[in-house]
């Protein structure tokens, strides 16, 4: 089955700063893919390239088999998008937004969107400006779901939400994925989305650091909670834990070594590896030496 999102040598530069550098990836159809990485890793840029808000500097990409640069209209028809900050009309009611979406998006399912809002207790007659940040995010998500698009791009929607609103939001996203929608959820707070996602895509310094399913990621890594020399173990990186403890992420599925990692530890390990490689590159040392 072809990937819902595929890129080949995708590069995006803003003047001198490189947001994405020659990345080739494939996000498969279905499930929730967590797009994680630190601020500036290129997560938002990747999503904006998918929806045609940005144009690649080099390389190309496809969304549901369509190049969003050449056929933006067809690409957008496949996408429901929730931006980082809810970009709704503050003076318009929720109902006005649903009507507007219905007027400008062929096939928009307002009833489906209202179904999503109903259990959350968000009145459709309320002005958006009177809603909380969490409620606005929910409205954005409901409208994105109302598009009935096969792909849902959620660009750090949790950043401004309280814990309860985050849980509600993620619950709705999970249900959408279970109903067959492909959900790509970008975040830099992995601990909160760990239970929701099926796949992990780690971006750092503009490139893909790690890409695998959650189950496989946990099964093929172990964490050792001591900072010492390790022989015969494929070390990803050392990374700091709580209380000044140093952890070591290793590539092994052997249950005799260390303990099973959390998803957050897998991400931290690969981010630390990228950091070590960058430091080694600055010093002129080989990445292997840096990791050791």
């Amino acid at each position: 089955m072809p990937g819902m999102i595929r890129t080949w040598g995708l590069t995006k530069r803003y003047r001198r700063r490189s947001a994405l550098s020659d990345i080739s990836l494939e996000i498969p159809d279905g499930g929730v893919t967590a797009l994680v990485g630190p601020n500036g890793a290129g997560k938002s840029t990747l999503l904006k390239l998918c929806i045609g808000f940005e144009r690649p500097t080099a390389g190309r990409l496809e969304v549901n088999g369509v190049d969003p640069v050449r056929r933006r209209d067809r690409a957008i028809a496949s996408i429901g998008y929730v931006p980082q900050t809810a970009s709704l009309y503050r003076d318009l009611s929720v109902l006005d937004h649903l009507r507007l979406a219905g007027a400008i998006r062929p096939g928009f399912d307002a009833a489906h969107a209202r179904e999503r809002l109903g259990p959350l207790g968000i009145p459709v007659t309320a002005r958006v400006g009177e809603l909380s940040g969490g409620e606005q995010a929910q409205v954005c998500l409901a409208i994105a779901l109302g598009t009935r698009a096969p792909l849902l791009l959620l660009d750090e929607p949790l950043a401004n939400l309280d814990p309860l609103a985050r849980r509600d939001f993620l619950g709705v996203a999970r249900v959408a994925a279970d109903e067959g929608t492909t959900v790509v959820l970008s975040s830099h707070a992995l601990s909160e989305i760990e239970d929701t996602c099926d796949r992990l895509l780690v971006l750092g310094e503009g490139r893909v650091l790690y890409d695998d399913t959650v189950a496989h990621s946990v099964a093929t890594h172990r964490v050792i909670d001591t900072d010492g020399e390790l022989d015969g173990v494929d070390v990803v990186a050392r990374f700091p834990g709580r209380a000044d403890q140093v952890h070591i992420l290793t590539r092994t599925g052997s249950s005799t070594i260390g303990r099973a990692p959390s998803l957050e530890e897998v991400v931290l390990g690969y981010l630390a590896e990228a950091r070590d490689q960058a430091a080694a590159a600055r010093r002129g040392a080989s990445p292997g030496e840096a990791a050791a």
Partner: protein, 322 residues
């Protein structure tokens, strides 16, 4: 209809303001026209040369007080109403043009709209056409009222045979509204901020209007004819006076002074010959050339506006929504 209402819902405040302003403009213009028409003064009395002379003097003398009141009414009500018919459509066009895109991009609501609408150009077209119609209808109404008020200001002269106020009334107002709306729209789309867009649009519109009026003026001068002063009637556009030599050549006063010197001191300024064969002539554009002139000027202004609208589509297609 419901679809149109939904699409225009984000612009409802401006549309309401436009309709209110339009209503006030029509009310002010119509009110002024109706009031000025209540002065029961014979049309012939408004002909300045004939006033107070011969039979007309006998006819018009009883209306001297009424005519003075009419002049005052024109100054206090007619002229302000004429200004309103010019200003209201321009203000509405500017507000609508800025709200169309600069406000959307500044508020980042384009993030929402452009992620929902498959084609941005369709989204823009669906909003732009009804708003543009409002601007054009308001401009046409303002222009029509302006013409009517000109007809009352210079009684006895057909406003469509009168160069007075060319570009400040008639279809030129609709053309100017289109120019203002188009420029405000495209500048708003490029800049994406309301206040800078307003300031830049003002400057661009100023230059654009200056250019259009300059070109129009050049064309109008191409329609000029030369005649004697007594051939000129109210509504003609006088360009300059010349000297007609005994040989029938028209030359400027500077050239004439160099050629004839003090002979010019004794010439008749009414264009008759004083015996020297040298006459004063006037270069003017007959009032019947006004329809062509106003259509050309309106087309220039409107054409600039349409070009700006076309450019707006291009910018919207290309730019980021933030």
């Amino acid at each position: 209809m419901n679809r149109l209402r939904a699409i225009l819902r984000p612009n409802r405040p401006e549309l309401r303001a436009a309709l209110i302003l339009g209503f006030l403009m029509v009310a002010a213009g119509t009110g002024a026209i109706l009031w000025l028409q209540t002065f029961k003064i014979p049309e012939a009395c408004f002909s300045g040369q004939q006033l107070g002379g011969g039979d007309l003097g006998d006819l018009c003398n009883p209306y001297q007080a009424a005519m003075q009141a009419y002049g005052e009414a024109m100054g206090t009500v007619g002229n302000p109403a004429a200004i309103a018919t010019l200003v209201a459509p321009i203000v509405v066009a500017m507000v609508m043009g800025i709200a169309l895109l600069a406000r959307e991009i500044e508020a980042q609501t384009t993030n929402f709209a452009w992620s929902i609408a498959p084609a941005r150009t369709t989204w823009l077209r669906d909003r732009l056409i009804p708003i543009l119609l409002v601007v054009l209808v308001l401009g046409a109404a303002g222009g029509w009222l302006g013409d009517a008020l000109m007809g009352l200001r210079q009684r006895g002269v057909d406003p469509w045979r009168n160069f007075e106020g060319l570009g400040l009334r008639g279809p030129a107002i609709a053309g100017a509204g289109l120019l203002v709306f188009g420029v405000a729209g495209v500048v708003g789309a490029v800049v994406g901020r309301q206040l800078p867009a307003l300031l830049i649009s003002g400057a661009v519109i100023g230059f654009g209007a200056y250019g259009a009026f300059s070109v129009s003026d050049t064309w109008v001068q191409g329609d000029a004819v030369v005649g004697t002063y007594d051939q000129i009637v109210l509504g003609d556009k006088i360009l300059d006076t010349l000297i007609r030599t005994p040989e029938g050549e028209y030359i400027s006063w500077d050239v004439a002074y160099g050629r004839y010197g003090s002979q010019l001191d004794n010439i008749n300024y009414d264009g008759t010959d004083n015996g020297s064969g040298i006459r004063v002539a006037t270069r003017y554009v007959p009032g019947d050339r006004y329809p062509a002139a106003v259509v050309r000027l309106s087309s220039l202004l409107g054409g600039g506006g349409l070009a700006a609208v076309a450019l707006t589509f291009l910018v919207v297609h290309r730019r980021r929504p933030y």
